[in-house]
């Protein structure tokens, strides 16, 4: 008999007033009992609507059925057939708009907690697996992947499983992309990312860090070195600014810089070599997941007041609901329907306040969201000594400026086939934020997976 409870099993979390002072993981994960109870809520539908909502098409009912009977090794095997990073996806995927949105149980009550179950199985595997994954038989062919973020890691993992000798070229000193520089420790512990990457290395994937393709090597040189196909997963790393007065004051960060200092460079640790401003009052501009991450980090660094300043209302906030709730619980102050107009500083150019103007919502714009309109004369000052700009990122121009024949659109995104990732250059495929502009981890993984399949077909056809 399925468990007909209308509610998901709650996942234990650290108490808000406790966790907003540490960088340990917020969500603590299911126990075996909770997981089995939750798995019993799955109706194992024949038409599996959830699978259609998953960008990497995990056989969701199949792995959940294995949890139900306590066969966690088998559950992991099913998961890992479709995803190279299950412990990551279980934590950071927006399941509520993907698999769980399609879940039949969600029609009346809450959907099955697919994300939490995925995380449970992946974590169980990390704690209990004795052997690293077996290295597949080599097929003697070489493929290159640029960027060790979610798209690149997924593409590399899938190609390695098919026997390709894959080399990932990563610009930073550590593999993981946004998983290591962007998403904070309390949402995605870096040890988890490292273990997932170790699994890829066990499959035979080679990762060369400190390699900025476009500078030290070009894509043409990769082909000269014998790589038969190249995947570009270089992300959207270039931070956007608002272009308002005062943005170059000391104490104004891009979210990328703020989060990179904290996550990649470990500025949250007391003995870190990397400095970071420990501000008293912080304004984070923007309403996405990155803005939530930045605000929650600022709070944990000891800020007394942390504001989210967003020009639309709660309804339009693009961040995941869970992240917004967590941020609110932790004491983040949401100043909605406000837009910054300028940042003011003292004589030493330190931030002293941010001027905002109140907004109201007008008619829907091209994006379908109601357009925010400034209320004339409603300017006011927010007393802050730090401002973090989290209004999005654009693709890095390094590759497009050094690769002949690589077509890009007016936003600088690489033009690639939606199904295969094929670009305007033969043998060169692309996916993730480099193609779509800033999006989610799982969409990037889906693109990496699709490209791996297309690259395999391309290389096979070429050999034939």
């Amino acid at each position: 008999m399925p468990n007909m409870s209308l509610k998901k099993n709650e996942m234990p979390v650290q108490a808000p007033e406790e966790r907003n002072r540490n960088f340990d993981e917020v969500a603590l994960g299911y126990t075996l009992e909770q997981a089995m109870d939750e798995a019993a809520r799955c109706l194992n539908c024949k038409h599996k609507p959830c699978v259609g909502g998953c960008p990497v098409a995990i056989d969701i009912p199949a792995f959940i059925q294995e949890i139900k009977v306590g066969n966690l090794a088998k559950a992991y095997e099913i998961l890992s057939a479709s995803t190279s990073l299950p412990a990551v996806c279980g934590r950071v995927c927006p399941q509520e708009t993907q698999c769980e949105q399609k879940c039949v149980r969600g029609i009346k009550g809450e959907p099955v907690a697919i994300g939490r179950l995925e995380r449970f199985v992946a974590d169980w595997h990390m704690q209990n697996a004795k052997e690293p994954p077996a290295k597949p038989a080599a097929n003697g062919h070489k493929a290159a992947v640029i960027g060790a973020g979610p798209a690149g890691l997924t593409c590399a993992g899938d190609l390695a499983k098919k026997g390709y000798q894959v080399t990932i070229f990563e610009a930073l000193h550590l593999a993981g992309g946004v998983l290591v520089y962007g998403i904070p420790q309390f949402r995605l512990p870096k040890e988890i990312v490292r273990k997932e990457i170790d699994n890829l290395k066990a499959l035979g994937v080679e990762i060369q860090t400190n390699m900025v393709v476009g500078k030290v090597l070009t894509i043409d040189e990769l082909f000269e070195q014998g790589f038969e196909s190249v995947f570009i997963g270089s992300g959207a790393g270039l931070p956007n600014f608002m272009r308002i007065p005062g943005e170059n004051l000391k104490g104004v960060y891009s979210a990328n810089e703020f989060l990179t200092r904290i996550n990649l460079m470990k500025a949250y640790k007391a003995d870190s070599q990397t400095p970071i401003l420990h501000a008293k009052n912080v304004a984070v501009v923007g309403g996405g997941n990155v803005a939530m991450d930045a605000a929650r980090c600022a709070k944990r660094l000891g800020a007394e007041k942390v504001y989210i300043v967003y020009r639309r209302s709660l309804e339009e906030l693009p961040a995941r609901k869970e992240e917004v709730e967590h941020a609110m619980e932790e004491g983040i102050d949401f100043r909605l329907l406000n837009n910054p107009t300028r940042i003011l500083g003292d004589e030493q150019m330190n931030v002293r306040s941010m001027e905002c103007i109140q907004m109201e919502l007008g008619e829907p714009d091209a994006s379908g969201r109601r357009r925010p309109i400034a209320k004339p004369g409603s300017e006011f000052q927010l007393d802050v000594d730090c401002v973090i700009i989290a209004i999005g990122t654009s693709p890095n121009p390094l590759l497009r400026s050094t690769t002949k024949g690589l077509e890009t659109n007016k936003w600088g995104c690489i033009v690639a086939d939606e199904k295969t990732g094929a670009t305007s250059r033969e043998g060169v495929f692309a996916g993730g934020d480099a193609v779509t502009g800033a999006a989610t981890v799982i969409l990037a993984m889906g693109a990496g997976k699709a490209a791996a399949k297309a690259m395999d077909e391309y290389m096979q056809a070429k050999r034939a």
């Binding site: 610009a171 500078k215 030290v216 070599q273």
Partner: protein
């Protein structure tokens, strides 16, 4: 690994290191920079490439010991390895087509000015070099500059090396004497570059400066290195490090460079104590 093949103290606070990095040496051009980390948990610091040897696969860096990281770096020796060494980053200095250039180096900035003077010299450009130091003990690369320049002027604050005075004094003399330059290239402390630009603006001589702001990734990702150039925000790492000096907001750059001064001083003291304790 990135092995230190050679280490040489150029003066008590400035050290030269030759690093084994063939892929970078193959692509490096004057004006570009590298980012290094000394050890695991170390910070990433940018250093402009002082020289490179494509055949031997080496990249030379010259650094002043100013903070915790350069202190740690200076404690490594020949045969030791750096944790990370990435480059070449940034846009190479523009040297093509220049007929006559005045290259100015201030302090350790001379180490960055030298490869540009050398490249100009190799291109057949007439090079006048002005280098300035606080005193004779801090002079570096004197012979190297002499060998690539038609005129060489050495300046020191206290008159113990070359002539007493600032690099701007020497430049003013040359300009007043009627020297015409296609360009002045000035590399050194921000204050020096600011005053060189002030002077050349009066004389209407195009001036290029090399900016070295606080950076993390060096690939355009963090935006920490942003500068105001002609009223627009530019990233030194991908748009520079070379900029039209007459357009750079130096006062802003000077303030931004001091952002973590207290932290840096504290970390440096801790590091010094650590090494003294060893």
């Amino acid at each position: 690994m990135y092995t230190i093949l050679k280490k040489q103290a150029l003066n008590p606070t400035v050290t030269l290191m030759e690093i084994d990095a063939p892929p970078i040496a193959k692509k490096a051009e004057p004006g570009q920079f590298i980012i290094l980390r000394v050890d695991e948990d170390g910070e990433r610091i940018p250093l402009t490439i002082a020289d490179f040897d494509r055949q031997r696969g080496t990249v030379t860096i010259i650094f002043q010991i100013v903070g915790a990281t350069t202190e740690r770096l200076n404690h490594l020796n020949q045969g030791d390895c750096l944790q990370d060494f990435v480059g070449p980053l940034g846009v190479p200095s523009h040297t093509e087509g220049l007929q006559k250039v005045c290259v100015i180096g201030g302090g350790v900035g001379s180490a960055i000015a030298y490869p540009i003077a050398k490249k100009l010299h190799q291109n057949g450009c007439q090079v006048h070099a002005i280098v300035g130091f606080r005193n004779k003990d801090l002079v570096i690369l004197e012979e190297e500059f002499r060998s690539v320049s038609q005129r060489f002027l050495l300046m020191s604050d206290d008159g113990t090396a070359g002539e007493k005075g600032l690099v701007t004094d020497a430049l003013k003399k040359l300009l007043d004497a009627g020297e015409q330059y296609d360009e002045v290239i000035a590399i050194g402390p921000l204050v020096m570059m600011k005053f060189v630009c002030k002077l050349t603006k009066e004389y209407g001589v195009k001036t290029v400066v090399s900016m070295n702001p606080i950076m993390i990734d060096g690939t355009g990702m963090c935006g920490g290195c942003r500068l105001s150039v002609g009223g627009q925000t530019k990233f030194a790492c991908v748009d520079g490090p070379d900029f039209d000096g007459h357009l750079v907001d130096f006062d802003e750059a000077i303030q931004r460079a001091a952002m973590y001064k207290a932290f840096e001083q504290q970390r440096r003291e801790e590091t010094c104590k650590l090494f003294e304790g060893v």
